[in-house]
């Protein structure tokens, strides 16, 4: 079965510092991968998704970028963090049947606090 590894679990970073969050998936090939952000007590905001190596769809213009250097690796980055980047970042693998999305499997998440 598929496993999603996401690290670190918690992170405290100063404003203006860079960010790199990594997500890797095991047990599946050519997965559709997603990055979501959840502000405290709020819903899940879709940030980026990728259907293959080097293919990134950005949903919300912001201070973040994503890359997919390998089939089962998805990276979320920022060159300079803002206070508003604080939140709970979740990586997900979403199954597909043809063009229909099925269940989303989430990593454990990274709780980022920008100070």
């Amino acid at each position: 079965s598929q496993t999603i590894h996401q690290w670190p679990a918690t992170l405290v970073q100063p404003v203006g510092s860079p960010l790199s969050l990594e997500c890797t998936v095991e047990g599946t090939s050519n997965p559709n991968l997603y990055w979501y952000r959840q502000a405290a007590g709020r819903g899940l905001q879709l940030l980026f998704y990728s259907v293959g190596i080097g293919q990134i769809s950005s949903e919300v213009p912001q201070n973040l970028s994503a890359s997919r250097p390998q089939d089962r690796q998805f990276i979320l980055s920022s060159k300079k963090l803002l206070l508003s980047d604080s939140g709970f970042y979740l990586c997900a693998w979403v199954g597909t049947i043809g063009i229909m999305n099925t269940e989303a499997f989430f990593g454990q998440g990274t709780r980022l606090t920008v100070v």
Binding site: Y36, G41, R42, G43, L44, V51, M100, N101, E103
Partner: protein
Amino acid sequence: GQQVMQIPQYQHVQEGEDFTTYCNSSTTLSNIQWYKQRPGGHPVFLIQLVKSGEVKKQKRLTFQFGEAKKNSSLHITATQTTDVGTYFCAGQGGGFKTIFGAGTRLFVKA
């Protein structure tokens, strides 16, 4: 772009009372999914509905998909303290986007 609205934002119930959360989409959905997130945890998949008017049950949970495939509901009968958490609906947007509602946070008082 597509939006998925979910109400209420919060719900406080006494243990044993029923609970319902509602989800509405601005566009027709090919399918809808429901997730539960315990405090401090990540969302966990509960169920997926695909057919118009579909109703599915999981023990005390009943899920419905509207006839027009633009709305859905989750009903919990006789809530228990273990039901505490945030319940999200999610629909497929254009392409392979999975768009989540804002969630309904359920508090259960023993």
